[in-house]
C-alpha cells in the first residue's frame, strides 16, 4: 500500500477504482461486453470524444478554457465535407480543414492572450461564431456523398483494430511526452500554476498560449474528420453535444479546472468511463435517460471523493505544524 501511495496519487487510485468498478459491472451484466468486438467498437465510438478531450486538457492545464471546441469540430467537419464533395482530393481537403482549425485556434488565442479577454467569455463568443460559420457554409443541411476514398479514417481497420483507436493512442502518447518531457510542456503547467510568475521567469506566455489553443483546435479538427469519415456525412452541429462530456471527462481525469496540474492519461480514463457507461446501458437495454443520471452521479462521487482526500491531507498537515 505504501509503495502504491508513493507511485500514484490518491486521485489516480480513486479513478482507477471507479474504472475497474464500472468495468466489472459491465462484465457481470452482459456477456457481450467483454467480447473483442464490443471493446473495439467502444474504442471506435470514444476516440472522437477522446481526441477532443485531450486537446481541451492542454488548454485547461494553462488555466484556460475552450468552449468553442465542439463547434470548431463542426466547422472543420463541414469544411472538409464541402471540399470532398466539391471534388478535391483527400489530402488537400484534410489540409484545408487543418488550416481552418489553426485559424480557429489562433483566433481564440488572440482574444485570450493578446486582448486578454477571460477565456470563458472569449470562447463563448467564438463558439457561436464557428457554429454560425459552419451553418452558413453548409446552409444548415447535412453534407452527404462523401467519397469512399475518405472512409479510411473512420472505418478502416489495421490488424483488426479501428484506425481511429490507434490514432487516439498515438496522439495520447505524443501529448503525454510533450507535456512531461518538453520545455513547452513544462511551460504549459507553469502558466497554469501562476501566469505572472511564469511571465517574470522569462516564459513567453503568449507563444505558449497560442500553441495550446491551436493544438486544441487541431485535435478538434482531427476528431471532426474522423466523425465525417465514420458516418459518411458532415453536419454543422457535429461535436456540439461533445463539449460538456469532454469537460466532465477532463475534470474526472483529475485535471484541475484552475489549471496547473493534470494530465492526458486521466482524461483518457475519464472518457473511457463515460463511454463504458453508455455502452453498458445500451447493451443491457436501459433507457438513455439513466445514462445521464449514472454519468452525473459518477462525476459527482469522484469529485467529492477527491475533495475529501484533499481536506484530510490538509488536516493532517496542519496538525503536524
Amino acid at each position: 500500500m505504501e509503495k502504491l501511495r508513493k507511485r500514484f496519487t490518491l486521485h489516480e487510485m480513486v479513478l482507477a477504482g471507479a474504472f475497474l468498478l464500472i468495468f466489472l459491472i459491465g462484465a457481470c451484466s452482459n456477456e457481450n461486453f467483454l467480447s473483442i468486438r464490443n471493446i473495439l467498437s467502444l474504442f471506435q465510438q470514444m476516440s472522437e470524444m477522446g481526441i477532443m478531450a485531450m486537446g481541451l486538457t492542454i488548454v485547461i492545464i494553462t488555466g484556460g478554457m475552450d468552449l468553442s471546441a465542439g463547434t470548431t469540430m463542426g466547422l472543420c467537419a463541414v469544411t472538409s465535407g464541402l471540399c470532398l464533395t466539391k471534388g478535391l482530393g483527400v489530402v488537400p481537403s484534410l489540409i484545408i480543414s487543418l488550416g481552418v482549425a489553426v485559424l480557429c485556434g489562433a483566433m481564440n488565442a488572440v482574444l485570450v492572450a493578446i486582448i486578454r479577454i477571460p477565456p470563458m467569455i472569449a470562447t463563448l463568443g467564438t463558439q457561436m461564431f464557428f457554429l454560425g460559420a459552419a451553418l452558413v457554409l453548409s446552409k444548415g443541411n447535412s453534407i452527404s456523398g462523401i467519397p469512399e476514398s475518405f472512409y479510411f479514417l473512420g472505418q478502416a481497420k489495421i490488424f483488426g483494430m479501428p484506425l481511429q483507436m490507434l490514432l487516439l493512442f498515438g496522439l495520447a502518447i505524443f501529448l503525454m511526452i510533450m507535456l512531461r518531457n518538453t520545455v513547452t510542456g513544462q511551460h504549459i503547467y507553469a502558466i497554469g500554476n501562476n501566469m505572472k510568475a511564469a511571465l517574470f521567469s522569462g516564459i513567453r506566455t503568449k507563444h505558449v498560449l497560442f500553441y495550446s489553443y491551436i493544438m486544441c483546435s487541431v485535435m478538434c479538427c482531427i476528431a471532426g474528420n474522423i466523425q465525417v469519415s465514420r458516418v459518411a456525412t458532415a453536419r454543422a452541429d457535429m461535436g456540439s453535444a461533445f463539449l460538456m462530456t469532454c469537460i466532465s471527462a477532463v475534470v474526472l481525469g483529475g485535471t484541475s479546472i484552475n489549471g496547473g496540474n493534470g494530465g492526458i492519461v486521466g482524461t483518457v480514463v475519464g472518457i473511457m468511463i463515460f463511454a463504458m457507461i453508455g455502452n453498458i446501458m445500451n447493451l443491457v437495454g436501459i433507457s438513455s435517460f439513466w445514462q445521464q443520471l449514472a454519468t452525473g452521479s459518477i462525476l459527482v462521487l469522484v469529485v467529492v471523493f477527491n475533495r475529501m482526500i484533499e481536506m484530510q491531507k490538509y488536516k493532517v498537515k496542519s496538525r503536524k505544524v
Binding site: S35, D237, S288, M308
Partner: protein, 326 residues
C-alpha cells in the same frame, strides 16, 4: 471513515442494481430507435411499440439519442448490433449519416426497417413503415377543411419549403381534391413558411390584408396551423377564417380551445410505433404484410413496393384533444 463506507455502499448498491436487471428470455429482440428520446411524439411511439412487443411476445428495446446528434444515434445502432438484437427499427435522424452502421447491421444478418422517416439508400432496409399515404392525407385534409369552410370561399395553403417532398404532395392532392369536388372554393395563395412559425404568422397576416374575403387557411406543415391560428385570433376573426391542418395535439391544444383553430389532422405516432414493431415481428417470422391487411390496433394498411403505409388518420378537436399525449 463513515463517509467512505457510505460511498462504498452506494457504489455497491449501484453495481447490484445494474447486475440484477435480468430480462425474461423471449423469442425476438427488436430495437425501436427514435430520432430522439424525450419528445412527446416519440414517447407515444414508445408506449405503443412496447405494448406491441407485449402483444406479440417479443422484447422491444426503446432507446435513442437524448439530443439531436446523428453520431450518437449511430453509436446506439452499433451497440444494438453488438447486443445481437434480431431487428433494428429506426427513425433516422440523418438519412445518410446512419448508413455505414446500417450496412454493418445488414452484414451481421440483422433485419433493418425504417419508420417515420427513411434512409437515402433504400437497399439497406427491408421495409419502410410510412406514417401515411400522401394521397390519403392530402384528400382527408381537404375534406375536413372544406366542411368547416362550408365548401365555398377563398382559401390559402401554407407549406414548409417548396422542395419538401411530403408537404408538397399533401398540398397537391388537397388542391386536386378541391378542384374536383368543391367548385365554389378557390385557392388564392400557396406560400412556403420554411417551417418557421414566426414566418407562417407573418404570412397569415399578409394574406388577411391581401385577401379581405379570405375564409380559410390550411397548414400542411406542423408549425403552420398554430401560427395561422395565432394571427387569426389576434385579428379577432375566430371562426370567420377557418384554420386546420397537420399539427400535433399538444401544439394545437390552446388554439383549438380558444376557437382560433377548428381541427388538427394527423396520423397517430403511437400506432406508427406499433406498426413498426408489428412489421419487424412479421418479417422475422418470415411472413409478409400485404396490401389492405387489417393490422390489430393499427387498422388497414396500404403496401406499395417495400413501403408499409398507415391509412388511419386522427381528427383532433376540442372534444378529444385531451385524449392524446403527443
Amino acid at each position: 471513515m463513515k463517509k467512505r463506507l457510505a460511498l462504498f455502499a452506494l457504489g455497491a448498491a449501484m453495481m447490484v442494481g445494474m447486475g440484477t436487471t435480468v430480462y425474461a428470455e423471449e423469442e425476438y429482440t427488436i430495437a425501436l430507435i427514435p430520432q430522439q428520446v424525450g419528445i412527446p411524439y416519440f414517447e407515444t411511439s414508445n408506449v405503443w411499440g412496447t405494448k406491441a412487443g407485449e402483444d406479440l411476445g417479443c422484447e422491444v428495446i426503446y432507446t435513442g439519442p437524448t439530443s439531436g446528434d446523428a453520431a450518437a444515434q449511430a453509436n446506439i445502432v452499433q451497440d444494438m448490433i453488438t447486443k445481437g438484437v434480431d431487428c433494428i427499427a429506426i427513425s433516422p435522424l440523418d438519412a445518410s449519416a446512419i448508413e455505414p452502421v446500417l450496412k454493418q447491421a445488414k452484414e451481421e444478418g440483422i433485419k433493418v426497417i425504417t419508420w417515420d422517416s427513411d434512409v437515402t439508400d433504400t437497399s439497406l432496409r427491408e421495409a419502410y413503415v410510412n406514417c401515411c399515404s400522401e394521397k390519403v392525407l392530402g384528400e382527408h385534409l381537404m375534406q375536413r377543411f372544406a366542411e368547416y369552410m362550408g365548401e365555398e370561399g377563398e382559401y390559402a395553403i401554407i407549406t414548409s419549403v417548396l422542395t419538401a417532398q411530403n408537404c408538397s404532395a399533401w398540398a397537391k392532392y388537397a388542391t386536386e381534391y378541391q378542384e374536383a369536388n368543391y367548385p365554389n372554393m378557390t385557392r388564392v395563395a400557396y406560400e412556403p413558411c420554411d417551417d418557421d412559425q414566426s414566418k407562417a404568422y407573418a404570412i397569415t397576416q399578409n394574406l388577411m390584408t391581401a385577401y379581405p374575403e379570405l375564409k380559410g387557411v390550411l397548414g400542411v406543415t406542423t408549425p403552420a396551423p398554430p401560427a395561422a391560428a395565432q394571427a387569426v385570433g389576434e385579428a379577432g376573426k375566430n371562426g370567420e377564417i377557418v384554420v386546420t391542418g397537420v399539427v400535433e395535439a399538444s401544439a394545437a391544444k390552446s388554439y383549438l380551445e380558444d376557437g382560433s383553430m377548428q381541427e388538427a389532422n394527423i396520423w397517430h405516432p403511437g400506432k406508427l410505433g406499433y406498426l413498426a414493431v408489428y412489421t419487424a415481428k412479421t418479417l422475422l417470422d418470415g411472413g409478409e404484410i400485404t396490401d389492405g391487411m387489417d393490422v390489430p390496433e393499427v387498422g388497414v394498411v396500404e403496401v406499395k413496393d417495400d413501403q408499409i403505409i398507415m391509412t388511419e388518420l386522427l381528427d383532433i378537436t376540442t372534444e378529444n384533444v385531451d385524449d392524446f399525449d403527443f
